[in-house]
């Protein structure tokens, strides 16, 4: 596997450029499971069913019966199909609307633990651990995000805060540390695989409202470029209109020409 593909898999980015080397599930007796789009983790539960984390468009866990011989068969799934990107409001978070599934494990008491990291994990995502009882009832969760300089949606009276790929809701009546919650993910890597936020460490966000419409501007800490996003109607997802490079960069002339740049990956 190339270093580039390894980086994609570490970040949880869709493996579109590596279609000939998509991972699969391998059993030690030679059997394979090739039906999971983007397997990132495996775990047998207490009854011997094999859970496979699917970081592809389904964003859920596939649960297989593994007989003594013959092909494993899909028994059921865990998590809403499509994860946080599913409808009716794409990007809206929920207890079983996962984002960047990376691991699963089980307690002796039957509890289910899910680990997700967002897409891409390092900057736009973070860590998300969710616990469920054996019936699937949510017990607790923990979240962590990368360092960001977020901005407040100016139309929200300070209650809506955006990082480059997430929206948080504030409830100032609650104690510090308990007053925020992750409300939405604004980056959909499956419908918009060329989104610059997948390949650039945008950690600075500026929210503006122009003629009643919300726009988001994001930049890296070194200010090399500025990407501008608009939001889909009836959705939390933002998509890119333009990426500008600052004038001192090789592609800086585009800054003044308002052109969308090619080759923005990297």
């Amino acid at each position: 596997m190339s270093a580039e593909q390894q980086n994609y898999e570490d970040q949880g980015i869709p493996l579109t450029p590596f279609a000939s080397n998509v991972p699969y599930v391998k059993l030690s007796d030679g059997r394979k499971i090739n039906s999971v789009a983007y397997p990132t983790s495996v775990a047998f539960d207490r009854s011997g069913r094999l859970w496979v984390a699917d970081n592809g468009p389904d964003q859920n866990f596939k649960i297989f019966n593994v007989p003594a011989s013959g092909a494993p068969t899909l028994a059921t799934t865990f998590g809403e199909t499509g994860g946080v990107f599913a409808g009716p409001i794409k990007g809206r978070t929920g207890e079983k609307r996962f984002w960047g599934v990376r691991g699963v494990g089980f307690g002796d008491n039957g509890d289910i633990f899910v680990g997700t990291s967002g897409i891409p994990g390092q900057v736009q995502g973070g860590t998300d651990i969710r616990a469920f009882d054996s019936t699937g009832k949510a017990l607790w969760d923990l979240k962590g995000i990368f360092m960001h300089a977020p901005d407040i949606d100016p139309s929200s009276n300070g209650t809506q805060i955006h990082t480059a790929a997430q929206r948080f809701e504030m409830d100032y009546s609650k104690a510090p540390g308990k007053s925020w919650k992750q409300a939405a993910v604004t980056l959909d890597p499956f419908r918009f695989p060329g989104d610059p936020r997948l390949f650039h460490a945008y950690g600075i966000t500026y929210m503006r409202v122009v003629n009643g419409k919300k726009f988001m501007f994001v930049s890296e800490m070194n200010g090399y470029d500025l990407a501008v996003y608009r939001f889909e109607p009836n959705s939390e997802i933002a998509n890119s209109g333009r990426v500008f490079r600052n004038w001192w960069q090789p592609a800086g002339r585009a800054w003044t020409q308002a052109r969308r740049l090619s080759g923005i990956r990297g």
Binding site: P23, S28, S41, G48, G126, D141
Partner: protein
């Protein structure tokens, strides 16, 4: 549901996990930490090694990730694979560079 910021303190979460393992009290020796979720991180913002979480709190960091615990016969955490009834499942690729 409990939400917590990824900062220093009892609720801090190691940044950017790539897998988790779940340990039982027979493996940790601490019934109050059972089940214990241990994270494997690609990169950890806090530079304290990977975290261990129980009942919605971080209770340890790095301890079980790095220790093999061969004294008890438990070989330590095996991330990225799982075994049941003698069958081990892993994630594989059609080809790899030599």
């Amino acid at each position: 549901m409990v939400a917590a910021a990824g900062s220093y303190g009892g609720d801090a979460v190691s940044n950017f996990i790539v897998d988790i393992a779940v340990l039982q009290s027979s493996q940790t020796g601490k019934s109050e930490w059972s089940p214990l979720v241990v994270t494997k991180s690609y990169w950890d913002e806090t530079n304290w090694g990977d975290g261990g979480y129980a009942a919605g709190k971080r209770v340890t960091k790095g301890q079980f990730f790095y220790e093999a615990h061969t004294d008890t016969g438990w070989p330590g955490i095996a991330f990225d694979k799982s075994t049941y009834n003698g069958i081990t499942a892993t994630i594989a690729h059609p080809w790899r560079l030599p």
